[in-house]
Structure formats: structure tokens, C-alpha cells
């Protein structure tokens, strides 16, 4: 066991999956000799060869489309899309094809593939490199959508995604790649794909977040503690299918709920969670559910990025509004 960061946990999981199962392939732009632009596939080509770790021509939709063909033939491709802003051409392949083969053929053909992509802002990257577009995928039946927030989660959830018999879109918060390190045991144990993580227990308020916003929610919870407010923090991690029970159970206990998302506000996944809370925990609510989100604007370029991104301060302010509700 050793202390590693998020990106190293991704590499560790990929290597583990490839060593365990010959049908696992890694493909994408610059994933081979270069080891990926973030080094997620560092060393894999050397270890597993250029047939199983395949540099592709530059064609995002085609990468996912050919991954579908591989999956239909029994391989388990793990495709890397270099940045989440480049994943839009792949939506046709995911929504029209990957997610539907099982239904369309009544189980004759299935699509066990993973599309990994760096996701979200906070690293002052180029234009189109900081998108948080998960809601476009959570609305697609037949897909799973996963966004881990720690090295341990990254390892366990990526193993689970690769082993899952259905297509998974796996978003990796870029800002966490080289953030916290933790002990990750390379034990080959997958994490469940349908469970939220309770990251901090509390009794007055439930903060729900995922990806890069979990750390902000935890920081807000810490600050609230100093003001006498006990906040529970739920890390959704597996957005689709959503583990609604864990969230509803928490809100039933606290009576207050603030949902944090990095994505633009309208049509975001926070709205889905708010609706579930409204439908499933209305009787417990002591205050209206609040959302802290990005704005309905284009993701700003790096100099104004911080204006856009939700942070602990904005989360804390929302929490105080909720606590003040009579």
C-alpha cells in the first residue's frame, strides 16, 4: 500500500484491469507512447503492448464508435477522450448506440465499454477544457455516469466501471488529479456503482456534491461547524443510476438540503436531486432545498474562472440561508 494521487489511482486501476482480463483494451489520442496528456495511461503501452494500448487517429466520435464495435465483439475497451469539451461528438454514439444495443437486441448484443474523460474546471486550463457536462449524459437511459472524488474512489469505481456489463461514462475531475494523496491498496476490489459516499456525518443540514465540489462542501461543513451547524456531506460519485436512498435518509435526519454542482444551473443534475428530495422527503423538510451551482453562462476563460466556480464560501452562505429559514 502506498500514498498515491488521483491520476496514479487511475493508472493503477487500468493496469490492474488489464492484467486481470485480457479483453480490457485502452485506446484514445496520445494514450500510448505519451501516456496520455495527463499521464493516466503512463507506462501501460510499455507493459501491455501497442495492440492493447492503442494510439488512435484524432477522431472522438470514431473512438467511441469503434469502442462499441470492440465491445459488441466481447472486448472491454476503455476509451479516453482527451478533455470533456471534446466529448460532444461522442454523444451520438453513446445515446444512439452504446446505451441501446442491449435493449434493441433483447440482450443478444451488449456494450461493456468505459469512456473516461478529464472533467470540470479549477485548473486554469484552455478554452473547452473545463466543461462539467454530466447532465447531458445522466439523461441517457442505459448509461452509467460516474464521477469519483478521491484516489480510492477513482481506483475502485474505475475497476467497477470496466467490469460492468453496460456502458459507463467516467468523469475525472481534473482539479483532483494531483490534489490529495491517500493510501490506495491495489487489491483489485471494485467499489459499488450505485452507492453514494457519506463523507462527513452531521445532523442539521445535508450538503450533496460530486467531483471537485466535494472538497468545497467539506470545507464549508468545517466552517459551519465553527458556527455551531453540523453538516452532513454526501459525495454522490455514482450519478446514474442514483443512490437516492442515501440522500433521502440523510435529509430525513437533517431536514435541510443544499445541493452543489459545478455545472450550469438550468437542467443540471442538482435539479434532479432536488426533485427527488421534494418527492421523497417533503415531510421532513424544514426549509426549501437550495442549489449552489455554476451560472448559466459559457465557462469563462481562466482569468474569470473563479467567478464562475462554486466554492466553500458560496456553499456556506446557502447553508446559512437554509438554517435561517423559519
Amino acid at each position: 500500500m502506498s500514498e498515491i494521487n488521483f491520476i496514479q489511482a487511475i493508472t493503477l486501476a487500468l493496469a490492474r484491469a488489464m492484467a486481470d482480463d485480457e479483453s480490457v483494451l485502452v485506446l484514445g489520442e496520445d494514450v500510448g507512447a505519451d501516456g496520455g496528456v495527463f499521464r493516466a495511461t503512463d507506462g501501460l503501452m510499455k507493459r501491455f503492448g501497442d495492440e492493447r494500448v492503442r494510439d488512435t487517429p484524432l477522431a472522438e466520435a470514431g473512438i467511441v464508435g469503434l469502442s462499441i464495435g470492440l465491445a459488441l465483439q466481447g472486448f472491454r475497451p476503455v476509451a479516453e477522450i482527451q478533455f470533456s469539451g471534446f466529448i460532444y461528438p461522442c454523444i451520438d454514439q453513446l445515446a444512439n448506440h452504446a446505451s441501446r444495443f442491449r435493449t434493441r437486441t433483447r440482450g443478444r448484443l451488449t456494450c461493456p465499454l468505459v469512456v473516461r474523460t478529464p472533467w470540470g474546471g479549477g485548473v486554469k486550463a484552455f478554452e473547452h477544457h473545463s466543461e462539467s457536462n454530466e447532465a447531458m449524459f445522466t439523461n441517457i437511459p442505459g448509461l452509467r455516469v460516474v464521477i469519483p472524488s478521491t484516489p480510492k474512489q477513482a481506483y475502485g469505481l474505475l475497476l467497477a466501471a470496466i467490469r460492468d456489463p453496460d456502458p459507463v461514462v467516467f468523469f475525472e475531475p481534473t482539479r483532483l488529479y494531483r490534489a490529495a494523496r491517500e493510501d490506495v491498496e491495489d487489491d483489485g476490489v471494485a467499489a459499488p456503482l450505485d452507492r453514494c459516499f457519506v463523507r462527513r456525518e452531521g445532523s442539521d443540514l445535508t450538503l450533496v456534491a460530486w467531483g471537485g465540489m466535494v472538497a468545497e462542501a467539506l470545507a464549508a461543513a468545517e466552517a459551519l461547524q465553527g458556527k455551531g451547524v453540523s453538516a452532513e456531506v454526501i459525495d454522490v460519485a455514482t450519478l446514474k443510476p442514483l443512490d437516492e436512498e442515501t440522500i433521502l435518509k440523510s435529509v430525513a435526519k437533517t431536514g435541510r438540503c443544499v445541493i452543489v454542482q459545478e455545472a450550469p444551473r438550468t437542467g443540471g443534475f442538482a435539479g434532479e436531486i432536488a426533485a427527488r428530495v421534494g418527492e421523497g422527503a417533503f415531510g421532513s423538510l424544514l426549509a426549501p432545498v437550495q442549489r449552489v451551482t455554476g451560472f448559466d453562462t459559457v465557462m469563462p476563460l481562466l482569468r474569470l474562472e473563479d467567478v464562475y466556480l462554486p466554492n466553500a464560501e458560496r456553499i456556506g452562505a446557502a447553508a446559512e440561508r437554509v438554517m435561517a429559514y423559519a
Binding site: 483494451l25 495492440e51 488512435t56 487517429p57 477522431a59 466520435a61 470514431g62 467511441v64 464508435g65 469503434l66 469502442s67 462499441i68 464495435g69 470492440l70 465491445a71 459488441l72 465483439q73 466481447g74 472486448f75 475497451p77 461528438p89 451520438d92 454514439q93 444512439n96 448506440h97 444495443f101 442491449r102 435493449t103 434493441r104 437486441t105 433483447r106 440482450g107 443478444r108 448484443l109 451488449t110 437511459p141 442505459g142 452509467r144 460492468d164 456489463p165 453496460d166 450505485d194 443510476p241 442514483l242 443512490d243 437516492e244 436512498e245
Partner: protein, 361 residues
């Protein structure tokens, strides 16, 4: 004066050509010497039966649709030889990757008329393909299946299996990025994949000349390092031969091919289309003189291998098969409502289970 000498092998520039294959003219008379396998009447008769079977299926499907007993349907009238020619050149273990008009290929590969009626009648059991278990279901978003064929071919190459993926799409698909991306992958990795363009001259209302300024669509392969050629898509013998050669090359590790089959869409795009809105009878009717079924019938008759009795017998046989398929389709109740949920994931997630329970309450 400065003289520059560039060795010829380093001279930039290249020359390309696009071949064209036809064995039977529109009147059914050979225009070239038939190779021995094509000259074998047994093959021609088998192909002819498949053409008639395809057209019989078309007639039955349209009749069912016009009487409100089928959802909608994409007729293959006039293009039967493209589909029968391609499929008849494939091995059973190859994988067929269709768009949505290739009924003749699906029937040849073992899909049953009843399965195809299920599909067009709105029942997912129509893509079960019990006798062609590796083949893909119809692909409705135009051209996006060209990438699936790349992945399937890559799987064969990785496993060192002598199998080929064969995909068919229309002339319109060649305008899409999916097509360009797939050809590029196939070329750069020299994959065992054969692409057949069913160039029926119409993408719904858009004629071929407005689809692309390229002189041929086959030359789009050249740009990707993929062998491109044209074939008379109304000559099933030529279709069979050109596809067989491309499949043989692919099986032997020779890489991909792009085959542009020149044919004509004699019918509407689908039963929801009215082609008279955008093309006249005067535009369509000359193409009836080139259609594939009568062409092969003329040829078979001319070599003394087909009679009026043979014709009546095969028509009756095919009508009987299609009538029985239609009866079986109509007599089969829809699937249980719960099945709309059951195949979304390998195991039903909790939220979907709740939705299923509420729907079935």
C-alpha cells in the same frame, strides 16, 4: 539559372484511378467473359431466387404497411442486387453491419422474414437474428455504424480471426464525418472491413449530384488509403464478384475496401415519403430498364436455365413464405410491457425498478 533535380520517388504528387465492374448489361447480355464461378448457373439461380425473395418481402411489407398492420418501412425496390450480391459473398462467421434498407442481405444471412416484420412492426424481437447471432441490428442514424464496423474488424484482427465486417450505407452517408473517420481508421490500421455504398442516387429528396462534387464516391476511399472501386449495383453477378474479391483480400490480411454500387432507388425513401414531391416519373422511369431482377432473369433465360414454369414456381414459393411470415407476425402478441425496462441494464437499478412497478401497477 538554377536547375533542380528531384529523384522521381521523392516527387510529390500521386495518381489514382477508380475501376468499374459490370458483367451483365441492362438487357441481361454479358458484356465481359464471366469467370468460371459466375458462369456456374447454380450460383446465378441462387442469387436470382434471393432477388425475388427480397422483392416479395418488400411487396408484403408495403402491403402490410398500407393496411395499417406495419409501422413504417424502407423499401429496397431496385437495389436488391446490392444487398444480395454483398451478403452472398460473405462467410457465415463474418459480421454484417447494415443501415436499414438491406433486407435482401439480412434474409440471405439467415434473418427470417418474420423477424424483419417484427422490426418494422415495432417489436424488438425483430433484431434477435437467431441464425445470424453476430450481425448488428439496423442502424437508423445515417452512417454512424461505419465506426462499429471498424471496432468489429479490429476485434477480429486482435484475435487473429479470418473474419470480416461488411457494412452498407447509402450515398448520403458518405457526406458524414462518421464515414470519413471510419475509413481513416480502417485504412491506417489496415483492418478487415468492407464498406459498400448503396449509391441509389437519392438521399430522401437530395439527388446524388447535390450530395457531393466528387466524380465518384469510391474515390473517397483513396483519401484514406482504402482501395475504392465502382460496380454496377444492378448486376448481381458483378456485385457478388467485387464483394467476394474485397472480402477475400480482407480475409487474407490485405485490408479494407470501399465499394460504390451504382443503382437506383425505384421506390420511395420510406412508406412515410412521397417521392413525387421531388422527382418526376420521367426521371425515374428510364431506370426501370436497368433494374436487377429482370436483368438476371433475362440472362438466365438466354442461357436456357430459366423457364416460365420456373418463374411461376419461385414466385409462388416466395409468396407462400411471405404470407406465412406475415401470418405468424400478425398472430404474435406484443411483448409484455415489463420488457421495456428489463434490457436497459444487465440488472435493473433501484430507480428503474420503482418506475417499472409504477408503470405496471
Amino acid at each position: 539559372m538554377i536547375e533542380t533535380t528531384i529523384p522521381s520517388e521523392q516527387t510529390p504528387g500521386a495518381h489514382f484511378g477508380i475501376g468499374y465492374t459490370r458483367y451483365l448489361g441492362p438487357d441481361g447480355k454479358p458484356v465481359a467473359t464471366l469467370p468460371p464461378n459466375l458462369a456456374d448457373p447454380a450460383l446465378a439461380i441462387a442469387l436470382y431466387r434471393a432477388l425475388v425473395r427480397t422483392r416479395s418481402f418488400d411487396e408484403k411489407a408495403i402491403a402490410l404497411q398500407r393496411t395499417g398492420r406495419l409501422g413504417g418501412y424502407a423499401p429496397s425496390l431496385g437495389q436488391e442486387a446490392v444487398f444480395v450480391g454483398a451478403a452472398s459473398a460473405m462467410r457465415p462467421e463474418d459480421v454484417f453491419v447494415p443501415s436499414y434498407r438491406e433486407h435482401g442481405a439480412q434474409l440471405w444471412r439467415g434473418a427470417t422474414p418474420q423477424e424483419l416484420l417484427f422490426y418494422w412492426g415495432g417489436d424488438e424481437r425483430g433484431s434477435s437474428f437467431a441464425k445470424a447471432p453476430g450481425d448488428l441490428p439496423n442502424n437508423v442514424p445515417v452512417g454512424s455504424h461505419s465506426a462499429h464496423a471498424v471496432g468489429i474488424a479490429l476485434a477480429f484482427a486482435l484475435r487473429k480471426e479470418a473474419r470480416v465486417a461488411l457494412a452498407i450505407f447509402g450515398d448520403g452517408a458518405t457526406s458524414k464525418g462518421d464515414f470519413a473517420e471510419a475509413l481513416n481508421f480502417a485504412g491506417v490500421w489496415k483492418l478487415p472491413v468492407v464498406y459498400v455504398i448503396n449509391n441509389n442516387q437519392w438521399a430522401i429528396s437530395l439527388p446524388r449530384r447535390k450530395q457531393s462534387a466528387a466524380e465518384t464516391l469510391a474515390q473517397k476511399g483513396v483519401a484514406a488509403g482504402v482501395r475504392g472501386e465502382q460496380v454496377d449495383g444492378n448486376d448481381v453477378l458483378a456485385m457478388h464478384a467485387v464483394c467476394a474479391a474485397a472480402l477475400e483480400r480482407a480475409h487474407a490480411g490485405g485490408g479494407p475496401s470501399l465499394i460504390e454500387a451504382l443503382t437506383y432507388r425505384l421506390g420511395d425513401h420510406t412508406t412515410a415519403d412521397d417521392a413525387s414531391r421531388y422527382r418526376s416519373d420521367a426521371e425515374v422511369s428510364p431506370h426501370w430498364d436497368e433494374e436487377p431482377v429482370r436483368r438476371l432473369q433475362s440472362y438466365l433465360t438466354s442461357i436456357g436455365k430459366w423457364s416460365r414454369d420456373d418463374q411461376e414456381r419461385v414466385l409462388a414459393e416466395m409468396k407462400g413464405e411471405m404470407d406465412a411470415a406475415a401470418e405468424a407476425y400478425l398472430a404474435t402478441p406484443p411483448q409484455a410491457p415489463s420488457t421495456i425496462f428489463d434490457f436497459t441494464y444487465a440488472t435493473l437499478p433501484a430507480e428503474l425498478r420503482r418506475q417499472k412497478e409504477s408503470a405496471l401497477r
